[in-house]
């Protein structure tokens, strides 16, 4: 795609105008000393906040670059380094206040946000359409099972607490007769699920697929197993922006729609996370 100075100037000017005209919504109470209220002028770039420890980070980065290019802009990145240093969390371990500070001081959009409904996010946040939809998968130790339903019912099965797969699995287990249901073994992180599968505490577990891309996961020890009538959920990833940046969100949404229709975003996942796909049956 060709870049044009005229198009860039028009985009940035419209973003600034639109932000000034946006209706006010309640914002978090954050001391002014933490906020840089001067307008950031990024030249030809959209700046994306990215959480480098997220398992989807390579895909987040590549998708941002593709979307920026579609808008005739460069993609710049600001790495978020949370103080919580626990690996294996599906989410980004920062507070809403910190998101507001990042979106005020450091970047235009935060990548890798799970798109959830039900009012779990504050009003001052808005979200783009999904640029990726990535499933949860069932795993077992290599050489043990090929299907979840081969696992003896007296054996525990690990899930990661407060994830959508946890809710799905819990609801599914509840539909089974008591003597047909496995015991749910809730764990805090995908790392602990992997650990407990490998050490034999549990016979199977559920994790988000991108964790299979991590270098510390030995592919020889893990196998994906099918789940039959249990359909596992997917996490839809989008970007978070401040609601006042609704105009920029609309532009990004249009780019995502074009790139989805053209198949570029789907291909991106295949290109960026090959190890994940190699393990899929």
């Amino acid at each position: 795609m060709n870049r044009t100075t005229m198009a860039l100037g028009a985009v940035l000017a419209l973003v600034m105008i639109a932000r000034g005209a946006a209706p006010a919504v309640a914002q978090p109470e954050i001391g002014p000393e933490f906020l840089d209220r001067t307008n950031r002028l990024d030249g030809e770039a959209i700046t994306f906040c990215i959480y480098p420890q997220a398992p989807s980070a390579p895909l987040d980065r590549a998708a941002a670059e593709l979307i920026a290019e579609a808008l005739f802009l460069d993609a710049a990145f600001f790495d978020i380094q949370p103080t919580i240093r626990v690996t294996g969390l599906d989410g980004i371990p920062i507070s809403e206040d910190e998101v507001f500070i990042f979106l005020t001081n450091n970047c235009d959009a935060l990548l890798g946000m799970e798109l959830l409904t039900g009012g779990v996010y504050p009003e001052w946040l808005t979200f783009t359409a999904a640029y990726a939809s990535i499933p949860y998968v069932a795993i077992a130790r290599a050489g043990t099972y090929a299907d979840l339903f081969e696992v003896p019912r007296d054996r525990p099965i690990a899930t990661q607490s407060m994830t959508s797969v946890d809710g799905t699995v819990t609801a599914f287990f509840r539909t089974l007769p008591a003597d047909q249901a496995w015991r749910r073994f809730p764990l805090p992180t995908s790392n602990s699920v992997l650990t407990r599968v490998l050490d034999g505490t549990v016979d199977a577990g559920f994790i988000w697929e991108p964790w299979l891309q991590q270098p510390y996961v030995d592919p020889a020890q893990i196998t994906l197993i099918s789940t039959g009538s249990l359909t596992l959920p997917t996490r839809n990833l989008g970007m978070a922006l401040q609601s006042v940046d609704n105009f920029l969100r609309t532009l990004i949404d249009e780019a995502i729609a074009d790139l989805t229709a053209g198949g570029e975003l789907a291909q991106l996942y295949l290109d960026v996370m090959p190890d994940v796909l190699r393990r899929n049956p």
């Binding site: 109470e29 001391g31 949370p82 103080t83 919580i84 240093r85 626990v86 969390l89 599906d90 989410g91 980004i92 371990p93 920062i94 507070s95 809403e96 206040d97 910190e98 998101v99 935060l110 890798g112 946000m113 799970e114 959830l116 039900g118 009012g119 779990v120 996010y121 525990p156 607490s161 407060m162 994830t163 959508s164 946890d166 809710g167 819990t170 015991r183 749910r184 073994f185 809730p186 764990l187 805090p188 992180t189 602990s192 407990r196 505490t201 978070a240």
Partner: protein, 583 residues
């Protein structure tokens, strides 16, 4: 005005941070005497050496120079600006020196007669994931040291004369969420502190005892059982690394004659049983009072105020130890033990230990249930099973994930960390409670962002039976459970309470009003609008024959979101100190 000059000096010293001459320090500490166990057990009338002044967490001082006859003569003695961080401070005073451990553990020692700065200690602030980690509720004095439990999960000892660190001991790991909020206590010559911050990335908190000279850990008692321990089965097979919650948010109480230390334990996390996978298990010792052997750390007894709780109705607040006749009035008190012998005098653990706003009274030696009754509207606790040592959570409110229900009080609590006070003159508890409910929905998943676990989404409202009034400042007899009086008002009560030998009760509200009530009948004797909502812990002390009343303010009113017409700018952390005019 006697104090005008002193006020100028205090403000200059605090703002300019001017180094104080050694001669001034020497003078201020001329009368200093090391704090002993005897002093802690029987503090001098003019001193305030620990969180709520005595082992029983009464929040009571026998000082009576200020009383109902002269309280309306109170004037400002001095005031200082406090650090802008979260303000939940308890000032301590001994031998004319005040110690102020402020947000993020910033500490100042000042002359208690005028606020002149003697020294200050500023701890490096870590970028803690929990915004509330910096709220420091109390230090404690012992020997020549000031002991602080820090936002980065250390215990430290400062030299009272210089503010220099004598020793520090890392107890938790702040990078995975640990922090102290409730401060340390000295019980039986040991430094005791309860850990907080056990959210969703680290499991089970603890209470630990430490050597006062070195910080070395002497014992540690976890607030949630491990495999094979008593109560393990109440977690229904959930693995140890997923047993979250059980923070010990506030300092404990102590009954030296029984050798027992009392702590409160917070909720399990995630909040909902369907989320944590514990089924109908009681999830001990969440929402319990635990009595700990002071020598070994062994749990001697427990009582679980809400078993298998769903709604973030924590029970970690101040436990009070009181000797009293026990004669709850039938018809006035909602739950009374069947086998109670009315009028019998006992040592009890009482107070309002949890957000439900219920007064619980237990036998201090055995934990046996005696009586319980609510002070604000609540629908979350429906019965007591004394034989099983537990309160019964309302099963009708235990709805599945994603289904909204209506719970009272709200997750903010009828009461929160603000502490009631007890007066031995009236044998009553004075409780700053509130009538707030919430529509409550367990979240399907944790939002992508969130250092917090995000167990539920809530929408708080004023309880409809309160006619638009949030605050309900309530005096409850410890003997009978009857209300002596109740002051209902629009603004919420988010501050702690002080009682005095002058027959006074001091507290503040979200409308920035500091008020003094008569303990016997609740008549408002004096009030003063201050610069921000009343926060922290009020206290009183005496130096050179003058009684002072000190009150930290600052921060947003906790219940102000429910009263949108009550609006003030946020911030404004200050300490106000009042006294009677000279002569």
């Amino acid at each position: 005005m006697r104090y005008r000059g002193l006020l100028k000096l205090a403000v200059f010293g605090a703002i300019a941070g001017t180094p104080i001459a050694a001669t001034a320090q020497t003078t201020a500490f001329d009368n200093w005497t090391p704090v002993t166990d005897e002093m802690l057990a029987n503090p001098a009338d003019g001193d305030w050496l620990m969180w709520r002044r005595n082992y029983g967490n009464w929040g009571y001082s026998p000082l009576d120079q200020v009383n109902a006859d002269n309280v309306d003569d109170l004037n400002l003695a001095w005031a200082v600006t406090l650090d802008p961080a979260s303000n939940e401070m308890t000032p301590l005073v001994h031998d004319g020196v005040m110690f102020m451990v402020q947000g993020c553990d910033f500490t100042q020692a000042v002359d208690a007669t005028n606020g002149a700065l003697l020294w200050e200690y500023r701890r490096d602030v870590v970028d803690h994931a929990a915004g509330l980690a910096c709220g420091n509720r109390n230090p404690v004095l012992y020997g020549d040291k000031l002991y602080i439990a820090t936002h980065d999960a250390f215990l430290i000892a400062l030299d009272v004369r210089t503010g220099e660190v004598v020793w520090e001991q890392q107890v938790g790991d702040w990078t995975i969420g640990h922090h102290y909020s409730g401060g340390p206590q000295i019980f039986g010559g040991k430094l005791i502190a309860g850990m907080s911050g056990c959210y969703y990335i680290n499991s089970r908190c603890w209470i630990s005892a430490h050597d006062t000279e070195t910080g070395e850990e002497l014992w540690r008692t976890y607030t949630i059982p491990g495999p094979g321990e008593f109560g393990d089965e109440t977690w229904n097979g959930v693995p140890l690394e997923a047993r979250y919650g059980g923070s010990a948010w506030n300092a404990g109480a102590y009954a030296p004659e029984l050798g027992l230390i009392y702590y409160g334990v917070a909720v399990p996390i995630p909040w909902g049983s369907p989320q944590r996978g514990t089924g109908d298990g009681d999830v001990l010792y969440t929402n319990s009072t635990i009595a700990i052997d002071e020598d070994t750390g062994e749990i001697v007894w427990y009582f679980q105020h809400m078993a298998n709780e769903y709604w973030d109705l924590d029970h970690p607040f101040a436990r009070m130890v009181v000797d009293t006749a026990v004669a709850p009035t039938a018809g006035e008190v909602q739950w009374i033990a069947d086998d109670l012998t009315p009028g019998e005098t006992r040592t009890v653990v009482t107070g309002i230990p949890g957000k439900t706003g219920i007064v619980w009274t237990l036998d201090a030696a055995t934990g046996d249930f005696l009586w319980a009754t609510p002070t604000n509207y609540q629908n979350a606790m429906v019965d007591v099973e004394p034989e099983n040592r537990r309160g019964i959570s309302n099963p009708e409110l235990m709805v599945p994930i994603g289904v909204e229900t209506f719970v009272c009080p709200s997750a903010g609590g009828g009461i929160n960390w603000q502490s009631p006070a007890y007066s031995p003159q009236t044998n009553a508890i004075y409780a700053p409670v509130n009538n707030v409910c919430n529509f409550y929905t367990l979240n399907e998943v944790t939002p992508t962002i969130g250092a917090h676990h995000g167990s539920a989404r809530t929408r708080a409202v004023i309880w409809e039976g309160a006619n638009g009034n949030v605050g309900a400042f309530t005096a409850v007899s410890v003997e009978t459970g009857e209300f002596l009086w109740q002051h209902i008002q629009r603004a919420g009560f988010g501050s702690s309470v002080l009682t005095t030998g002058g027959g006074l009760v001091v507290t503040g509200d979200d409308a920035n009003l500091l008020r003094v009530y008569r303990a016997t009948d609740g008549e408002i004797l004096w009030e003063q609008r201050v610069s921000a909502s009343l926060r922290g812990y009020p206290m009183t002390y005496e130096v050179d024959g003058t009684q002072y009343i000190a009150f930290p303010v600052g921060g947003n009113g906790r219940y102000r979101a429910r009263t949108p017409e009550i609006r003030f700018p946020s911030g404004g952390n200050m300490l106000y100190v009042f006294a009677l005019p000279e002569g």
